[in-house]
Symmetry: C2
Subunit: 350 residues, 2 copies
Amino acid sequence: MHVTLHDVCRKTGFSTATVSRALNGSPLVAEDTRNLVVEAAKELGYQPSHAARMLKLKRADMIAVIFPEIDSGFFTEVLRGIDETASEHSYHLMTAFTHGPDDERNLISRFVWERRVDALILMNLTLPEAYLRDLSLWEHPIVLMDRPVRMDNMYSVSIDNRNGARELTNHLIEHGYRRIAFISGPKGTYDADERLAAFRETMGENGLEVNDRLIWPGQFTEASGRDAVARWLDADNPLPDAIFAANDAMAIGALSLLRERGFRVPRDTALVGFDDIDTAAHLGLTTVHVPMRRMGSIAAQLAVDQISQNKSLTSYRLPVACAVRSSCGCPTGVSSDPAAADKAKREALT
Amino acid sequence: MHVTLHDVCRKTGFSTATVSRALNGSPLVAEDTRNLVVEAAKELGYQPSHAARMLKLKRADMIAVIFPEIDSGFFTEVLRGIDETASEHSYHLMTAFTHGPDDERNLISRFVWERRVDALILMNLTLPEAYLRDLSLWEHPIVLMDRPVRMDNMYSVSIDNRNGARELTNHLIEHGYRRIAFISGPKGTYDADERLAAFRETMGENGLEVNDRLIWPGQFTEASGRDAVARWLDADNPLPDAIFAANDAMAIGALSLLRERGFRVPRDTALVGFDDIDTAAHLGLTTVHVPMRRMGSIAAQLAVDQISQNKSLTSYRLPVACAVRSSCGCPTGVSSDPAAADKAKREALT
DNA sequence: GTGAAAGCGCTAACAA
DNA sequence: TTGTTAGCGCTTTCAC
């Protein structure tokens, strides 16, 4: 069997209280005692039972991270960011993918009410407002990684979708593109809605009419990007000057379909995306860079701060920057100073 | 505070024993009693404390998954596979990235000796044989996702690196390539060593000499792929007929450097990789398809089987298939029936 | 079919 | 400075 506190007691002759204190760095033990105990513990290979500790202390040292089934290429980087910061603070991560929307709630409820975790980080889930309100009664913090929230005990880290979409739209317009199609994301998603809205606004501000036929519905997946373009072409419509896909996955889908049909980008039409996933750089896709790792890191920081009652900011909105590459046929580069853009500009949502 | 078993007792008037039995589906409770208890529990929103359960039952319902810091693009898919199968069997996942080699062992030791998890899935870690041997004394199963092992209580899921490298090398040779360079992975890594060895063998079998200068050292990273090619070109060497990178990340690095220097693939040199990460398809990179999700799923299955004492196979080696795309300038397609290739061919390593 | 009580391994209040 | 002891919330043996 495994080594318990009692084994260390037996070996050293001290009581459980003393041994526990010694091992936990309490100042109420003699230095000699501590050394003896620590030594013995090491020799025996003693490690405290997490279950017992958890039961007594009512802490789990654990943060749950829940991701939706569909992956926008985001996943790994965000998780890395979370892990980095969480592990710095000695928190471990429990990860789960949701398999459908019911599952989302089941998972969350279990994690929360079984007291398995000390905080929750939720990514792009489709939770109704009412459910969130219930959740916010939980004694532990919840961090949302999609939309901003104004609710007690809920925190958020999101990005400045509007500015990103605006900048990139402006970029296209400045370089002479007029008829611009937009492949939108799933309606009702915060990111998708914001990006589309900013696109519309910016077009309007520039005196360009947005023909609703040029708003092609998509689902943030590669396949939906392909389909959007395919439907357009199949109806014998002429290509627009440029295509703005609301995320890179769809842009990549669009690109592959365009190539299959014999079109060249940017010769026949410019193409841009949003997110800056790995593949975007390799394909020379112009896009809006989203600091995924940093988002993860901040989400974890927010969670940790709240657990330890270091009341910090409630919400972050991170700035983004355009990454101009070959797919839009313009001089390449980054729209703003990347260092500045990457620096987390705090912005409380008050 | 949260709801405990006692609250349910108070509400129903039954003892903890009965309530516990009723909730856990024990046959030793009257049907009426059970209904009453279940009803009350639901009303109160009772969920058993994981900590208490864990302490009593000595189970954690948890599988740890440990990944190395460097990501070969593998990560997400493998984790999805693991999650899929683990969650089917009601296991949760604890994930961690190692930050350096010391960290690897620290993490593992903690997870194991704090009894936080019921099984361990380790991916491509750099653990010395001796450490593994210690680990195998643990009462719970350990699944390695890199190399095959022959050790009690250790299981592995790996892929047929040799066959993959052999097939792809043959493919290149059949299509007329003779001077083939190989960008190798980090020495001492199982995958890297196997792939290189098979490349050498296959070249030999075809009567082709392998000039050691054409074995370029790499580290499985994109940057190292770039460097390998850069060093070669900087020394004013002529491009080989084809370049076989031991993984896709390096192939992609090589590709971007070649393009920067004004070379075209496959016109100036063919280029192939190994792994079939997402980006490979988008870039038209010929490569060896590795069924990552399936590997994850099998790893989880192995772990679950062992936890529940369903002595199953100890090790799997999955077959792979070439995915021929444009980067090698050959007719495209898949080398073998993909359905057949994807079907897990069991192969006990005895 | 149900209940009383012990105990999983730990921490911390209280006593000495 | 150290020890005794009472739980944390659950499962399960043993009695009834």
